[in-house]
Symmetry: D4
Subunit: 172 residues, 8 copies
């Protein structure tokens, strides 16, 4: 795998960085090269459209969009490309991400967007889902994903053991 980015992560505001870095970290842990930047659907529509239109040509395989409030970023990106677009709703308003979730997930027929959970869990999963997409044509990634699933099991077992010890300590 070369260093040319395969995944492009866009976020609507630099305030979204702490959430979206989870997607970056997921990709990094699988050795998948990516690029990440701020670009707004509303404040910089040209910047966003230009980036997205050229993405497939530059070798990008998957796009990830993180945005809050009336989160149009993913839909606007999907309108400009045939690459898969993953959406991460961000909890940045009084409505706690419900606005971003509905604005991302309820896309009309013809322009799909694949929505993840609100916030950090969703960003982490967007990174993992991008790896899953790439694994469709990359056996080594498929193997690493299988390894990751084994690690998830091991992680639960470690936590289960720690909890058992805590319960003994707590006298439960």
């Amino acid at each position: 795998m070369s260093d040319k980015p395969l995944v492009g992560i866009l976020m609507g505001s630099d305030n979204d960085y702490e959430v979206m870095v989870e997607a970056a970290l997921a990709l990094k842990s699988f050795g998948v090269p990516f690029e990440m930047m701020v670009s707004s659907a509303h404040r910089t529509p040209e910047r966003t459209a230009t980036y997205v239109r050229s993405a497939r040509g530059r070798g990008i395989k998957v796009l990830i969009a993180g945005a809050g409030a009336a989160a149009h970023l993913a839909g606007v990106m999907a309108a400009e490309t045939t690459l898969p677009v993953l959406a991460v709703p961000i909890d940045s308003t009084a409505l706690q991400g419900l606005d971003a979730l509905l604005a991302m997930v309820q896309m009309p027929a013809g322009i799909p967007v694949a929505t993840m959970a609100i916030g950090k869990a969703g960003a982490r999963n967007a990174g993992l889902f991008a790896v899953q997409i790439l694994s469709v044509a990359d056996e080594s990634l498929a193997q690493r994903l299988a390894d990751y699933k084994v690690q998830l099991v091991a992680g639960v077992e470690v936590k289960a053991k720690a909890l058992a010890e805590r319960m003994v300590k707590d006298g439960i």
Copy 2:
């Protein structure tokens, strides 16, 4: 007032026509010339952007967007113009317009969109609100709006009288 359109009404789908015609009828009743067309934020982003970017230059003063589901149309339009954009959320999914409402009203700072009620009442009001905007620089429209308010009162009085008669008839 010439026949050159002062208001541009866009709807995301021809299914939205029965709702959005209410905006057209409101404008018509005030003699405000308008144009109305289908253009989607997602399926025809270029068509939408081109229309909106040229609107102020062609003499359009107010834009109205009607859309359902993940209703990005108004936000996408507001991203491309400094004209006032009015939004009409349409109840076209299982979530009964709540998705369209939140996707329209929760716009981030910097790109205002003015949202009306879900459905026909909202479309009617978008037309009226466009007239109110135009009345800021058009005394005759201001006068017609004052007349309209008088008619609203009269309309209620007629209905109140009819109800009183119905109550007598019903023995209430």
Copy 3:
């Protein structure tokens, strides 16, 4: 442009000031004179009605209402004037602004109110939307709005660059 106020901002409670000052600051940054005061739909209905009825006559062109809870202020103002009324729902109860949003946006046909996002973003946008309304008949404001859009783009680019540097520093 004289110093005579063109925009009137009302808020239902002095607790709403920290939100509504965003509308004032937006107007100020465009050099649009305004006035701002506390007046409640419920506690001072006379004060509110008197202010609103006289607004057009005193040269006010746009009204902005900020309120929380059962937020009737914008609707009550719209009932008394044909000026455009902009509404800012404020998150001041356990329901986090959903109550204020629905109480503002779901106006019946005939009495339009233009609703913005909940909270500070909405207040900022109410100020900007008032400028957009005024720009319909004021070329210099239209130009300043165009300049503002350029600044929004520049602002995103500055933040994008800062984020890129942060990512390098964080080793992402």
Copy 4:
């Protein structure tokens, strides 16, 4: 009890009649004289305020307001009187009465409104609650309310018996 109305029922639209007549029928069944009319918070604010301000002086003891959508009627009435105001949210929009409920129940401190259930059950209960208020100073009404409670029990017993028979018939 004279025939002078003790309860005033207002509804925002004649479309609300089929719901609000339940309040009237409840009052009628207790022999409480009432008046009922259409008056809108938004279309006829003067008519509404004038009616409400004069209500106590004319001998009205309780006011009932039925409205849908951004249901401001009860709050606007409560702003103009110290009489108890009962509110009936009506399901007349895509949001199924949630908008009317929140616009009625979330009144700020200082201006109470007493909200009933959405729709016909709420209208019926508004009538009964008005009787309960009047019973505070009317022993005969208190007695009739006690009788009504006995009838409720009897009604359930009749239905319980009918259901038992239906179950036998259905072989349950």
Copy 5:
């Protein structure tokens, strides 16, 4: 007015005291004698029913119930009396009072409960509404309520003046 309680305030848990004391303070400010206690619909159904059944006989004219979560207290009380029951939903769970609101306001036809806003505003208004009910047969309370409305206006005017000064200071 004697010192015999006219209003009975029940709360489902002592955790509700900080909210429900607002009702007590409202009654106290009008000189209306009341009693307030903890009694749960679920943990002490007998205590609650016994209290409520004897209330009218002991001279209580209005009952107020404050509860959170699956807030059955008001409904259970209304089932046992023909006195007016006022309900205050309390925000004590993850759902922020929406559960308590719906569990109180959606009472079926036949057993009215009058619901106030969630939390302290609602408790304050429950106290005021009880005074309004009592004022139906007590001219002096009606006068004090009229005075209270004048004070509300004065209070807004004081705050409006303070805000005007703050705006000058802030350079707005």
Copy 6:
């Protein structure tokens, strides 16, 4: 197993019969004797409490409550017994069962109620869950439940086969 009822099903209104009969049919299919009747938390609190208090003594092992709106029935029953109480929220208002669901599921600590899905699926499952409870001390019921699970699998397989045929017919 004798014919003495082991499960008591209460519903708040005879309108709930078409939903609650699902619970009865589930019990019947397992040969579990039950009784079913109308009894309201609000209209017949005595009838409900008397029934519930005597239930354990009469050999009832599980109680099922079906109710809509402000659905207090299950909570009121749980307040009067230490038997397990299962709750079925019924969609009988404009809010589509969300009110009944929250009024049932959000019970405070100390008085458990076990809530099922809204409507017929929930009623069916309440019957099945009652059988599961009884199976804790009844091996033959445990065996029948195991058989039922096998039938569920077979049922899906039959439907899967029918769908495969339909797809061929439809040319999918």
Copy 7:
């Protein structure tokens, strides 16, 4: 009662421990032996299924599942056993437990899950409900539950007295 666990408590993540320990404490206070562990529906499906399938054989009578977000744990467990499964939705996302609640309570017909309130109250009640289930075939537990109800009453009375004293102290 031997020390062999009668109740199995599973939680989807060790983060859920502070909530789920409430279930454990409830069981402990009734002397009901239990086991508690971490096992995820998604990360360790095998571990979960293996545990659940063997539960009845090992003498487990009731299962309790605590999980947040898309809380599938209870449903997945119910799919693998005919033992009663109790579900505790946990508030661990931006949506405050509404996601977990709906993912648990809305089970389809055929696979019942009994859902408790969101969070600690629900976990406490899951423990109590397990005791109620066991009491169906254990007279001594039935007696202890009756004692517990008496303690609940006494607890309210203590709190009521403390509140009365606080009110005197506060001058209410």
Copy 8:
């Protein structure tokens, strides 16, 4: 492209067929071979797990899950595979798909599921999104997706023209 299925569509119930056939039709229109069957997360967990575990080995590249209510199907599938899993929430309960949406989209970190809109639009988009995933490694599919986007534009233009004619006919 051979006829060996590349996409596997599962639905929780045969009632979901009318929705999920949209996914099949989308795949068919792009010539992507697929298989579709009924398999429930709850009623046939083994059938589902067996199918999913073997999917990658049998050449399946993408999985699609359609389910309503407490829609665990997609999450359960994602727990058993590293293939991308797309989720289609189905509106099959009183809560209109909100339950299925939240049960699908709010997956915890580590086990991604990509959620589409509720209902037919979502099913159509799941099919298209599967094609987009496959296009990452299939240039001809990428070209067909580009063609499809051109058709979407043409489709809007046809509808726009038809609407323009209808408006002339309607005299708008």
